[in-house]
């Protein structure tokens, strides 16, 4: 039996529908708790990108690119880079590049602690996740535009 709609079979689609949100949430958790537990911006960003790639593999590229298009992914990546750099430059308010400019560092083992480190993690995760997704989407579009000839 052949299904006319793009993507994989019904089993894969159902399981993807159940798990993709959990994968995205796990990535966000890894990013936000990067200063408390093992993990951080790089690992969490890759997991966030993988949740979108999972969606693209199971449902076909239109569904995933409707959620977040390739152009928007590269805009988000640039935003992450600019955010990371501006956090670094804001350190000059306290003296030097990458200065941890929050005076009150908060209590250890709490979510809102450690000054700029969570913000840097969020910026890096935006950059890594959107960048990997943009590369994957570009490769997919390249292959599919090659196939049409």
């Amino acid at each position: 039996m052949k299904s006319l709609e793009p993507g994989m079979t019904l089993i894969v689609k159902t399981i993807t529908r159940l798990t993709v949100g959990l994968i995205l949430l796990y990535g966000v958790y890894i990013v936000l708790h990067g200063h408390l537990t093992p993990g951080g911006g790089f690992a969490g960003g890759v997991i966030i990108a993988l949740s979108f790639i999972h969606l693209m593999l199971a449902f076909g590229r239109e569904v995933a690119l409707k959620k977040i298009s390739e152009a928007r992914a590269s805009v988000i990546e640039n935003l992450g880079a600019v955010m990371f750099l501006s956090i670094a430059v804001l350190g000059f308010s306290g003296g030097y590049f990458f200065f941890n400019f929050f005076v009150n560092k908060g209590r250890p083992f709490h979510l809102f602690s450690a000054g700029i480190i969570p913000l840097c993690n969020i910026a890096i995760s935006l950059k890594v996740g959107a960048g990997l997704f943009a590369i994957f989407a570009a490769l997919i579009l390249f292959r599919s535009s090659e196939k049409e000839e």
């Binding site: 951080g40 990371f84 990458f98 941890n100 450690a114 480190i117 890096i124």
Partner: protein, 175 residues
Amino acid sequence: MELNILLLFMIFSAIVAVQVEDLLSSVIAVGAVGLGLSLAFLVLKAPDLAITQLVVEILCLIILIRATIKKDLPFSTSGRWVFNTVSTLVSIVVFLFFAYFALRQLPRFGAPIMRVAEEYIASGQEKTGATNLVAAIILDFRGYDTLGEATVLFTAVIGVLAIIRKTGRIKNEES
């Protein structure tokens, strides 16, 4: 003083690399800039950066030379085998001689020199407030390294998008 000489050397090599006509000479001048940067890192007491810069520079130089030369490099595979063998043996002996003295200075296995890392471990948590010491080091103490890594990733993404998009756009316009 040495730093100023190195900077002048790098600026001069960069001007040569831009101005010279021959592509191979230009590539070698770029390699000279990289070598000067590596020595500058060494003068500024950042040996890890110097090693990285040297390795990456050599790799890039080899790739670029391979890309610019059309014909294969001439390798002498016949004749003068006595000279070749003797010079190879001499260079191996010289290398082992200096490696003996250099390797004796290395710390014993399991007892690393922890001059900077001790400070990070002792005061990392109270200085940054982060309980994950890895995050504290890569995002606070060694923020420059992380910025460099992020820049590497950024450049890779931009390169992939630029190369692939151009091909796709031309093909779309033709069809």
